[in-house]
């Protein structure tokens, strides 16, 4: 009961006129920033800095939460309309969101994403409100072996994501993992894989560089080539009634994905080293694995949008938990927020909930209000995004190229990375002609830099003994599940291999 009254007062704080205005402004700004490839909530929060000095700390933090929520919703928009994941969290949304938009059903895809984000955010808010302190201690019990086991599980849920050619899929996964290892070996502290001794590689290869290259440049070249320059722009009509029926369809077809994404997303999100990207990928994988028609995934299935979208919102809310309760920023965005809190004289950490209840509950209350505001504003803007899609392709295409280059620079701040984006883009175009699937590489470059250090930290802990992944209770359970998941489909695939070829010939 006490929690409810605290939450109630927090929400009241959030709906005061000034704060409500900040929420609406923040959500709108966040939505568009999130929709720009390369920009994410971290950039939005950077705008916050000068404004924090004009309004009281609670107002500032509410504005931040609103931007954070808006950007989470916005990430799906470029994934669906442009086919470029604006942030690593939205990669999985492209798998089904883009095909659906291609079929002329962009409005269904956008409505689905907005709705799934809302459900994910709401579920996460409720869990957060009820169990925050308990979950913080659960998160702490995840050491390196547990995180590595979790990464293993994330890979396991993605067996079978790639194309028909197993060798090329394996190549793509390993390629992504090796690219993720470029730059610097965290464990020995030595430079590693500085390719061709170019110092630009010292900083490593960021996820966005590969993703923008593959999706922003490579896919666009592919589309232009395939279509012979005569892309039919889809010409969807937007009406309120149309959106209502889209929403009904999204709920009917996507509730399974939403359930999986919301719950799984939150629990992966609170783990300090994991975060929203693995959460979204795993939810997509689980939704596909448990589906009766897994082969429909990747063709524009509604569950394939709801699972990752509800998961990344749920996880983003969840990742606030270690920041608030432990004072550990799990992402660049939360790091800036942490800095802001220090400026306002607050100490994030185990005592924050006790010492500053008004601040904490004001923030949590604003999560609820921001989530609702983000849903409404997102739905209101969908016609604008659809209108964008109706631009002639010969205007849209150069605009996407320009957005890719500018967004890439904004994110990485380095001309070297822009050249890399171009090289990856042209490389991706060529590899795609030869049926190399590239999505696995993009996923691997996100998961690899989490998996490798935790693997080696674990082995340092155990003096090189691999059994550490089985003897610790949490790690052991996850590892066994992951191994089963990896080997079952692999066996099935091998057994089915012969008959599949027969099918195709027939």
């Amino acid at each position: 009961m006490e929690i409810l009254s605290l939450l109630g007062s927090g929400m009241l704080l959030a709906v005061q006129p000034l704060n409500l205005l900040l929420i609406l402004l923040g959500v709108t700004v966040g939505l568009f920033i999130g929709a720009m490839p390369g920009l994410g909530s971290v950039n939005g929060v950077a705008i916050l800095l000068p404004i924090t000095f004009l309004v009281p700390p609670t107002g500032a933090i509410i504005f931040l939460a609103a931007i954070y929520y808006g950007a989470m919703y916005g990430g799906a928009i470029s994934s669906i309309t442009l086919g470029i994941p604006g942030a690593s969290t939205a990669v999985a949304t492209t798998f089904d969101g883009r095909p659906l938009a291609r079929q002329g059903r962009a409005s269904l895809a956008l409505v689905t994403a907005a709705l799934a984000s809302f459900v994910g955010g709401s579920v996460a808010n409720v869990i957060f409100t009820l169990f925050a302190p308990v979950l913080a201690s659960v998160a702490l019990s995840f050491g390196p072996p547990e995180i590595f086991a979790l990464m293993l599980l994330a890979f396991a849920t993605f067996v079978g994501l790639g194309g028909d050619d197993i060798a090329k899929t394996i190549f793509s996964i390993c390629f992504g993992l090796v690219l993720g290892a470029v730059g610097f070996d965290q464990i020995s502290g030595a430079p590693r894989l500085v390719l061709f001794d170019i110092t630009g590689f010292l900083q490593g290869i960021g996820f966005l560089v590969l993703a923008i290259g593959v999706y922003g440049i490579g896919e666009m070249l592919w589309t232009i080539e395939e279509s012979r320059g005569e892309v039919e722009s889809s010409n969807p009509k937007m009406t309120v009634r149309g959106m209502a029926s889209d929403a009904a369809e999204a709920t009917r077809k996507g509730w399974r994905g939403m359930t999986i994404g919301s719950l799984l997303g939150f629990f992966v999100g609170i783990l300090p080293a994991a975060g929203a990207t693995p959460a979204a990928l795993m939810s997509y994988g689980v939704a596909k694995m448990t589906s009766r028609n897994p082969e429909e995934f990747g063709q524009g299935k509604v569950d394939g949008i709801t699972a990752p979208e509800s998961a990344n919102n749920s996880a983003s809310t969840g990742s606030m938990l270690p920041m608030l309760t432990l004072g550990i920023p799990g992402s660049p965005t939360t790091a800036i927020l942490l800095g802001g809190m220090v400026m306002w004289g607050l100490t994030p950490g185990p005592r924050l909930f006790l010492d500053e209840p008004e601040f904490v509950w004001g923030l949590i209350g604003s999560f609820y209000i921001s989530n609702i505001a983000a849903l409404l504003i997102n739905l209101a803007f969908i016609p604008v995004f659809i209108w964008m899609l109706r631009m002639p392709f010969s205007i849209l295409a150069p605009m996407i190229f320009v957005l890719s280059i500018v967004g890439g620079y904004a994110a990485m701040n380095d001309m070297f990375d822009i050249w890399l984006i171009l090289i990856f883009g042209i490389g991706a175009f060529v590899l795609r002609r030869f049926d190399y699937p590239l999505a696995p590489a993009v996923l691997a470059i996100v998961l690899g830099p989490i998996a490798e250090p935790t693997l080696r930290q674990s082995l340092l802990l155990s003096s090189g003994d691999l059994s550490i992944f089985l003897t610790r209770p949490i790690a052991g359970t996850i590892t066994v599940v992951a191994l089963i998941l990896i080997f079952l489909p692999a066996l099935k695939l091998l057994r089915r291999g012969g008959s599949k070829r027969g099918d195709k010939a027939a």
Binding site: L25, T28, V29, F32, V42, I47, L49, P50, I51, F53, L54, A139, L140, S141, F142, G143, P144, G183, F184, Q186, I187, S188, G189, P191, T199, L202, Q203, G204, P272, A273, P322, L326, G327, I328, P329, S331, P332, T334, A335, I336, L338, G339, G340, V342, M343, T347, P348, G349, P350, R351, L352, V384, M388, N413, D414, P453, Q457, L460, L461, S463
Partner: protein, 323 residues
């Protein structure tokens, strides 16, 4: 698309109106464009938080006509930042927030061709001490108990840190040498992650800056055992320093701002006056006190001399670490 941009235009205009600097510093040189404020660490770490704090103080006090734009270049233990700043096309608008990797990285990676004496000294904002922490549930409350426990475990005592050659590993190496300990060292990607895994008892002890461990200390999870500072720290008056235990050693992480090589003297003077104002501000002094940083103000010549001294002492420390 147009609606988006219009919305942003309005917003940016509002922001300009709100933050329009009404003052002009009585100086000849003024920055003409946004200042590239390079941070020698990735987003989220202790160094990054300090840099962003400095930036927000500058913003709050309206000190600069052009904004400081934070630019994280943490790759290769700061090698990326050093290369970026050395090659800056506009040295008058490029400054760097440093930590001790300013000294150690050029020593460890001599193929970079970085000579830190070519950089322009601007301001020494303070030095961050290190403290030895254990988890309250370990039952250890004194250095003697710590030493006893670590010896008893004979190579199985686990400490977390930010990597071989990093600041804390130098301190841990000194500690193991001085007390003849065998310690299993697990590298993490930042001081925050190290503190987290001590809180979760994944590791048994750490050497963290007070700022990183403060939250857990206040909640009663962490116990400070030993400070590696010259004097006892104000925040932990009961914690002995390593000097009191008879070892001639202290170790701090520098929090300094330096200019790109080739920065003009006028620009350097401008930044010195800006950072002096930040240093003297209530916000920064409050930060120094609450996060247990020690002040160590120096003029430009003293800073250069300090760099030379630190490079020599790190050369010796790193040599000891490798042997």
């Amino acid at each position: 698309m147009l609606i988006t941009k219009r919305a942003f235009l309005t917003l940016s205009c509002a922001a300009i109106a709100a933050t329009n600097p009404g003052l002009a510093l009585a100086q000849e040189w003024q920055p003409r464009r946004p200042i590239d404020f390079v941070i020698m660490a990735g987003p989220g770490g202790g160094a990054d938080q300090i840099a962003r704090f400095i930036q927000s103080v500058a913003e709050k006090m309206d000190l600069s006509r052009r904004p400081l734009v934070p630019n994280n270049k943490g790759g290769g233990s700061g090698a990326e930042a050093l290369l970026h700043v050395s090659a800056a096309s506009d040295p008058d608008h490029t400054i760097l927030v440093t930590l001790n990797s300013f000294f150690t990285t050029p020593l460890r990676q001599d193929n970079l061709g970085i000579d830190i004496q070519t950089f322009t000294p601007i301001a020494m904002m303070g030095v961050d001490p290190f403290v030895l922490w254990v988890h309250a549930k370990s039952g250890i409350t004194t250095v003697d108990q710590f030493v006893e426990k670590a010896r008893a475990m004979n190579g199985e005592f686990v400490m977390g840190g930010t990597g071989t050659g990093q600041e804390d590993s130098i301190v841990i190496a000194f500690l193991s040498g001085a007390y003849d300990l065998k310690i299993k060292y697990i590298p993490y990607d930042g001081g925050g992650a190290v503190a987290r895994d001590l809180a979760g008892q994944q590791v048994m002890a750490t050497v963290n800056n007070p700022a990183e461990a403060k939250g857990f200390y206040e909640a009663g999870d962490f116990v400070p055992l030993l400070a590696f500072s010259d004097e006892r720290l104000m925040a932990f008056p009961d914690v002995p320093t390593i000097r009191e235990l008879g070892h001639d050693f202290s170790y701090y992480n520098q929090r300094a701002v330096v200019g790109a090589p080739g920065m003009s003297e006028e620009a350097a003077e401008y930044y010195r006056s800006v950072f002096t104002k930040i240093y003297e501000s209530e916000d920064w002094q409050g930060y120094l006190a609450s996060e247990s940083l020690s002040p160590l103000w120096m003029n430009a010549d003293e800073q250069r001399a300090y760099w030379a001294k630190e490079v020599e002492s790190h050369r010796a420390l790193l040599a000891a670490l490798d042997s």
